[in-house]
Symmetry: C2
Subunit: 298 residues, 2 copies
Amino acid sequence: LPSTLTIIGLGLMGGSLALALRSRSTQDAASHDIERSTLNVERITGVSRNPDTLAAARSAGAIDAGTDDLAEGVREADVIVLATPARTILRQLPEVGRHARSGALVLDLGSTKSAICAAMAGLPEGLQPVGGHPMCGKEVAGFAAADADLFRGRTFVLCPLPRTAPDAVDLARALAKAIGARPTLLDPEVHDRAVAAISHLPYAAAVALVNAVEGVDAISETAWLLAASGFRDTSRLAASDVDMMLDVLLTNRGTVLDWLDAYAVQLGRLRQSLADEDELALRAQLAAAQTRRTGLKF
Amino acid sequence: LPSTLTIIGLGLMGGSLALALRSRSTQDAASHDIERSTLNVERITGVSRNPDTLAAARSAGAIDAGTDDLAEGVREADVIVLATPARTILRQLPEVGRHARSGALVLDLGSTKSAICAAMAGLPEGLQPVGGHPMCGKEVAGFAAADADLFRGRTFVLCPLPRTAPDAVDLARALAKAIGARPTLLDPEVHDRAVAAISHLPYAAAVALVNAVEGVDAISETAWLLAASGFRDTSRLAASDVDMMLDVLLTNRGTVLDWLDAYAVQLGRLRQSLADEDELALRAQLAAAQTRRTGLKF
């Protein structure tokens, strides 16, 4: 089944998707990959407001054609992938709905899924919406950081809507496999609660950590001189792309607030035990965390 | 100046110190290192309550002799290094004071310095106390984890007391250099405030993070399935040795409580901005953290 594919947004995620599909085409031509019949991307169109990004993507061979006109970009596509930040996806979905041709698969790569899947429910009936979230990332953004291997071995969460046709779900699954990822079907609310715990809360914790330590300049030079790997790792996520994370937090607000509250409770318990010099209680909390953390296999 | 050296505690730190000095002796014999005259460790005695540890250290060539009797172990030593957890050091210092011979350098490797330096001030006049903290660590403990290269390239904080003779400070410095570390003189209070910020607070943040996420078992399997590198790094310190960290937190209690409060303020601000959907305020906090974190060179 030859397909034409349009990617809206050629940043880290969209750019990496294009590169990954391209490098797969090359591999397939050589290896006669058995899945070739399922997904055969004949033409990739990129949509970006930035002419430099379009030029870079074209010269890297990531896309065949580029446009800054979303309507034009999606009109002929069999598969439309929204690879912009979450709130931009929410804004772009109605426009995609107005211009996409009937039968097209509409997939997104946004970091949160409940709000986006709810918006997808408003797409015209003929379209086939599937929410998507490849579980990978870097603290860098933009097409310059795009990487054909970004998705390799990663979980690619797919959230079909009740109305989505089984064929369209299969196509989304084939797309995920084509870029080396492991597709996993998940309910949008379950996804959002999970990523809030394992991704958004750690991000918030890292941001607060960097900002808390910033407060005392008198010692900061000494502190950074001593800075060991512990601070480096615990604070790493604070370097994440601000625009993306702002969208993530604001489109997953309720769930993130719940986790922040659970986190504040744990911090408060730790503080109280230390303030009281309650060694038994303190040890119990440290030991519980150590046992759990040591048991996690990443 | 040939020296006999006694190490009390042969865990990760004490064991690594012994191995590092040994591997240096070998290097020196070959390279005629110019610093050899400053510090020439002729004999290393290990003190441990655990006969298996003593046997392992002896068979690894880390120590020449071992004993479970602190008094016997320190009596003949020119240099005494306390490499036990911080609160054990506080308990052992008076006994070291009763049995060490006049003129001996008494150095410790504890993770906090104010309480230990205060206790060192109570040592008999003839002894030469220097508080010490090599800025390195692993989440593993025990002699089995000891590593001759543990201190290589790391900052080794030294806190001499006002009464400590310059020769003794030089000897402590030479010891730090001999194991490949960079000695840095620091006030104990400044040290404790800095490590509370860059090490103890991140540890507490990681413990609370792991314990907060534990709370919701219904989603945990999904969460760990999705777990990306972000959670892994942010929570890494929670796997630290509980006994050591308990000592660290309890001997640096006031300062850690101050930082926990500063951290709670930052988390509260973040929570409030998100709850209010105050995008400007939220962006300012994320951007400040990103700028600072990106600017840190580790």
